[in-house]
Symmetry: C2
Subunit: 242 residues, 2 copies
């Protein structure tokens, strides 16, 4: 049985304008790798209702899980929750549990629960909540879509709550050999090795260290015996090339 699949949707004009570097994708990728969920693709789209709805529908029907980040705050440009309700054809309603959290908080602060603050209690009907350590306002799950905040530390906390809800798969382990030679010197033997070990995914990533070209040879597989065997063979090949 193969691993469950996933996609990420980064929602935010600030990523597309270049203002903000997205670091959420990597965090999600790493956490999913750890539990054997296969991240197949990621997309970055604008805070645009039609685009959010279409992308959520397309990816949620294609993959087991979808993770979104961004657009769930109190301001007018936060339209993810309402768009998700539309994507799943459910009502966009005030969630009593979130509403009480907000009401208690602002009462205690002696501040008004204004309409912007109350907006944070509105989510698609029948969502599950993603309570977390970073903020009182939870993320939520609608269908197979996990809707999280865009701020990295809050996203991270919401993702932590989401992880136990996922079906774990066979974890892909990786072994990396860094060699101080160019890719083109290794390429032919490396391809022969790949052809020999079909179950091991082999990637080659050039880098520069102190002005010298090197290559990271990364072997990945959920068959650990085969991975180990291929890696030992790779070391022998590289020693022969030196």
């Amino acid at each position: 049985m193969s691993n469950h699949t996933a996609a990420v949707i980064i929602i935010g004009n600030e990523i597309l304008s270049g203002r903000t570097l997205d670091i959420n994708t990597q965090e999600i990728a790493l956490r999913l790798s750890e539990i054997g969920v296969s991240l197949i693709e990621t997309r970055t789209i604008a805070d645009d209702r039609t685009m959010i709805i279409n992308t959520a529908r397309e990816l949620s029907s294609k993959y087991n899980y979808v993770f979104t980040t961004g657009g769930i705050g109190p301001t007018h440009d936060d339209i993810t929750a309402e768009s998700m309700a539309a994507a799943f054809n459910v009502r966009y309603v005030r969630n009593d549990e979130i509403y009480m959290i907000l009401k208690n908080y602002y009462d205690k602060m002696g501040e008004k629960l204004n309409s912007a603050r109350e907006k944070m209690a509105y989510i698609p009907e029948s969502s599950k909540l993603l309570h977390n350590d970073a903020t009182m306002v939870p993320g939520f799950v609608i269908g197979n879509v996990f809707v999280m905040a865009g701020i990295p530390n809050i996203m991270k906390a919401m993702l932590k709550s989401a992880i136990p809800m996922l079906k774990k798969g066979k974890v892909i382990q990786s072994q990396t050999l860094e060699v101080m030679m160019g890719e083109s010197k290794i390429a032919i033997s490396f391809e022969e090795l790949q052809n020999k070990y079909k179950e091991v995914d082999m990637g080659s990533y050039p880098f520069t260290k102190n002005g010298i070209h090197g290559t990271a040879l990364v072997l990945r597989s959920s068959n650990y015996n085969l991975l180990e065997k291929a890696f030992v063979e790779l070391e022998t090949i590289i020693n022969g090339l030196k």
Copy 2:
């Protein structure tokens, strides 16, 4: 007349596994912003032939320009060039100009132009080349797709060669006001301002500085007079809230 549109395709298993943080998207986003090309969406996909072909076809028909990064080196997992030829139904052929560059280089080094090295001369027929300052092997343009390396400093150099080939548009300028108050306090007035200035795109981005919550209010528009007017009004609103 509205600005030309663009999409980015990041090709690489290493991004989807979390091994590598993608910083190419931000670089492309910033450079396109500067010349008034609108980045509409970005995708990250695996080194998978079918996925590369389908994504390239879909996005190149939807947008004026597509920029890809990754998968154009000498190793077996570098399949972008061949996939692009398939996507555009053209032959995957040895380019004489690149071949001579490689031949001269390896001759001078006293090394063999092996099949892996020669592979770097193979690109889709009728491509234009993206010569650059960072490497002797150029990127290339096929149809409206700009195919670039994944290594950030090489990608950057190839993008620099691509920029003069693009149709410049009206540059979107932005003004940012950072205020040390939470989003929810500003949200209502901010939305009223957005409704008043439809041509100015207003976004709100929370941050934390020394443990205190702040909000960056970002106004963006290609109508600079209106942008300035809205920004002055925003400052007045914020002063009234303090």
